[in-house]
């Protein structure tokens, strides 16, 4: 696109005015002709306006003035549109990245995320014992179960349970039961190795849980919650 704006004032040094006063041809005796003043002042001849040479800015296919520009027209347009399209796509991707970076800055920070996981050394927990850890502001029970407890829990009849769940659905490794120590009734912390079912007993309202953390007796409606955990190796578990 080449554009030239020519105001009569700005170009006056370059335009020669056609104010050539000549003898009148119509009849002798008339006064010398005064140049016709068009509205707005003296107008220079529009034929004196020279369009500048834009060769420095032209694409190679249209530098030659003796060659029609039609042949290269499609090629030039395709090139322009391709460059525009590619830049748009890259631009959108860059914008998306920037925006998502700003938005994700509002999510939990690293230190908070660090607190969200807990790594527990399993060899510290003797068999038959339950250890309590603080995790995400709540008590976490990690229980090292004995063989007797495991087989007892696995043979429980589903029909007896208020919240039926088989033991193997609640544990990854049957030796280890990991549950949240929050009673599903009204949120008190159950006492370990207490109650009628060899599991946990909540002293607030008398809910009895078994060694798999399932509710057996009492007002609580649901089993103790099993969080997400995995065993990165034999001796440790990462919860969260």
């Amino acid at each position: 696109m080449m554009s030239i704006a020519a105001r009569t004032g700005a170009l006056s040094p370059y335009l020669r005015a056609t104010q050539h006063t000549t003898k009148s041809l119509l009849s002798p005796g008339t006064k010398e002709l005064v140049p016709v003043a068009a509205p707005g002042g003296i107008r220079h001849a529009h034929t004196d306006i020279k369009i500048p040479d834009f060769s420095d800015y032209r694409r190679p296919e249209v530098v030659d003035p003796n060659k029609s520009s039609q042949d290269s027209s499609e090629g030039r347009r395709v090139f322009s549109y391709l460059v525009t399209g590619a830049t748009t796509v890259v631009g959108i991707y860059a914008a998306k990245t920037v925006v998502s970076q700003f938005v994700s800055s509002m999510s939990a920070s690293a230190d908070v995320l660090a607190l969200s996981k807990i790594e527990i050394k399993l060899s510290d927990i003797p068999e038959g014992k339950n250890m309590t850890f603080k995790w995400r502001g709540k008590p976490l029970f990690v229980r090292h179960r004995t063989e007797k407890e495991i087989s007892a829990e696995q043979s429980v009849n589903m029909g007896e349970l208020r919240d039926p769940e088989h033991d193997k659905d609640r544990v990854i490794n049957p030796k280890w039961v990991i549950v949240l120590g929050v009673c599903t009734h009204l949120g008190c912390v159950p006492i370990a190795n207490a109650g009628d079912y060899g599991g946990y007993y909540c002293p607030c309202h008398g809910s009895h849980y078994d060694a798999s953390g399932r509710i057996r007796k009492g007002p609580a409606p649901l089993n103790l919650e099993v969080p997400f955990y995995e065993f990165p190796d034999e001796d440790s578990v990462v919860v969260g």
């Binding site: 080449m2 554009s3 704006a5 041809l25 016709v36 034929t47 029609s68 991707y93």
Partner: protein, 492 residues
């Protein structure tokens, strides 16, 4: 009294009740077929002689020459125009007064015009004065005196004319359009030439111009009216046998193609009352087969000015809008075609607060031509075009001019019947395809004179040369983005 009244009624009633009352005496089809044939003869030296015998008592006879501002260089731009001024100022045989006296005593009109590719010297006279007319014309063209004193005097006249033409803003606008559209090429030059050349052209320049371009093979002696072709050929042989047909040094001037540049020029002057704006794309050459569909397309857009009485019932959609929204004072769709290129455009005159709207609707009209033109639009355009082609040939001079230009452009006269057949062959699909070929998504050239602040930026006018559905953009962008996103994601 009652008797006379009855008599009057008896006589006039049949005429009043006649079914043919108000009808032309010759039907359109008859007028096409009944048009006299154009005779064409070529002399030994290459001069072509063409005539149409229409049976008028008058005739127009002239020489049409294939030369114009396109053949001039930067140094001698304006020579043709200057020469036109010198042509009737005396020949080697007759001084100016004698020449004028000869012409006046015949009651004839001696005239000339110069355009970018053609020059014409012609005389309108009684049919019986044809021999005298041809003799005078041959003198004017072949032995112009080019008196030095007269040249100096004509300089002032040319400069004065340059000044005067500045107030004809339509011409200024269209000249600037050519200057920017064909920048760097001979077609950008105006016929008038710059004022510098008007001051510095010498007699030798004019002589060189004549010697390089006034060659028999590039000239046509044309006549229309009550003329006899054999008589005309005889006259041509006796007066024009001496026309040169060889070039010095075999330097035959060849026309090289002229590059079109999408560009703009704005001559802003807020003191002027109205703005003249012209927008054009590269059009078809005179001999191109696309000419007829493009002419039909221009008829569909049509023209308008404030004196049109149709109001909101005008057939052109753009004209209706112009009336209802008061968009402009006038507009016209034009197509200037040259031997190998052309300018297809719209020129309008508008008040300074309506330029943007008028430009928007003009380009909208173009887009409609490329996409949604209907059968009824095309039928209307075809009829209007046929009517204008026939209506233009209303006298010996327009017919003579038509013959001259056709011979120079096409090598033969294209008869009305042929135009009619080619117009009939145009279909809406043809109009859409051909308009898309020339208009859709092309860079336009824009020229504007006057209070043009409101004229949109060039990039916006360029964007209005295509239509893009928003949904298409969004869908395509979305799909592209998804592909790229997934692609990048794979690598992370």
């Amino acid at each position: 009294i009652i008797f006379w009244l009855c008599l009057f009624l008896v006589i006039s009633l049949p005429i009043l009740l006649s079914l043919r009352r108000g009808q032309a005496s010759v039907s359109y089809a008859q007028s096409l077929v009944g048009a006299p044939e154009t005779h064409l003869t070529t002399l030994d030296n290459g001069l072509r002689v063409a005539s149409e015998e229409t049976g008028h008592a008058t005739c127009t006879v002239g020489l049409w020459i294939s030369v114009g501002s396109r053949y001039e260089s930067e140094k001698n731009n304006g020579a043709g125009f200057f020469l036109e001024h010198m042509a009737f100022k005396g020949t080697k045989k007759r001084p100016q007064t004698a020449l004028e006296q000869q012409v006046e005593s015949m009651g004839a009109h001696l005239s000339a015009y110069t355009s970018r590719e053609h020059t014409a010297y012609y005389m309108k006279t009684l049919a019986k004065d044809l021999p005298k007319a041809v003799e005078l014309l041959s003198e004017v063209v072949q032995s112009c005196s080019l008196n030095e004193a007269e040249i100096e005097q004509q300089r002032g006249v040319v400069l004065r004319e340059l000044e005067e033409v500045e107030s004809n803003l339509q011409d200024v606008c269209l000249d600037l359009l050519h200057a920017t559209a064909f920048q760097g090429t001979p077609l950008s030059q105006s016929v008038l030439g710059p004022s510098k050349n008007a001051r510095t052209l010498t007699r030798q320049d004019l002589v060189d111009y004549i010697n390089s371009h006034y060659k028999a093979t590039r000239m046509v002696l044309t006549a229309a009216g009550g003329v006899n072709h054999e008589e005309l050929v005889g006259l041509a042989k006796s007066h024009f046998s001496g026309l040169s047909f060889e070039y010095e040094g075999d330097a035959i001037p060849l026309l090289s193609p002229c590059r079109f540049t999408g560009s703009e020029i704005r001559m802003r002057d807020d003191a002027l009352p109205l703005a003249h704006v012209a927008i054009a794309v590269e059009g078809a050459s005179a001999a191109s087969p696309d000419i007829v569909p493009l002419m039909v397309a221009n008829s569909i857009i049509g023209s308008f000015d404030l004196t049109y009485g149709g109001g909101k019932h005008l057939s052109s959609r753009l004209a209706r809008l112009a009336v209802e929204e008061k968009l402009c004072h006038s507009f016209q769709a034009f197509h200037s075609s040259y031997s190998d290129t052309g300018l297809l455009g719209i020129h309008f005159v508008a008040d300074k607060h309506y330029i943007e709207d008028m430009m928007h609707w003009s380009q909208n009209a173009w887009m409609n031509l490329c996409t949604t033109v209907t059968e009824s639009d095309v039928a209307r355009g075809k009829n209007a075009l046929k009517a204008s082609l026939v209506g233009q040939l209303n006298g010996t001079t327009p017919i003579c001019d038509d013959i001259g230009r056709h011979i120079l452009n096409y090598g033969r006269r294209i008869p009305l019947a042929e135009w009619d057949a080619r117009i009939d062959a145009v279909t809406p699909k043809m109009v859409r395809d051909i308009c898309s070929k020339y208009i859709y998504d092309k860079c336009p050239a824009v020229a504007a004179v006057g209070p043009v602040e409101q004229l949109p930026d060039y990039n916006r006018m360029r964007s209005a040369m295509y239509w893009l559905s928003i949904t298409i953009i969004l869908c395509s962008l979305h799909s592209i983005y998804e592909c790229i996103y997934n692609f990048i994601l794979m690598h992370h």
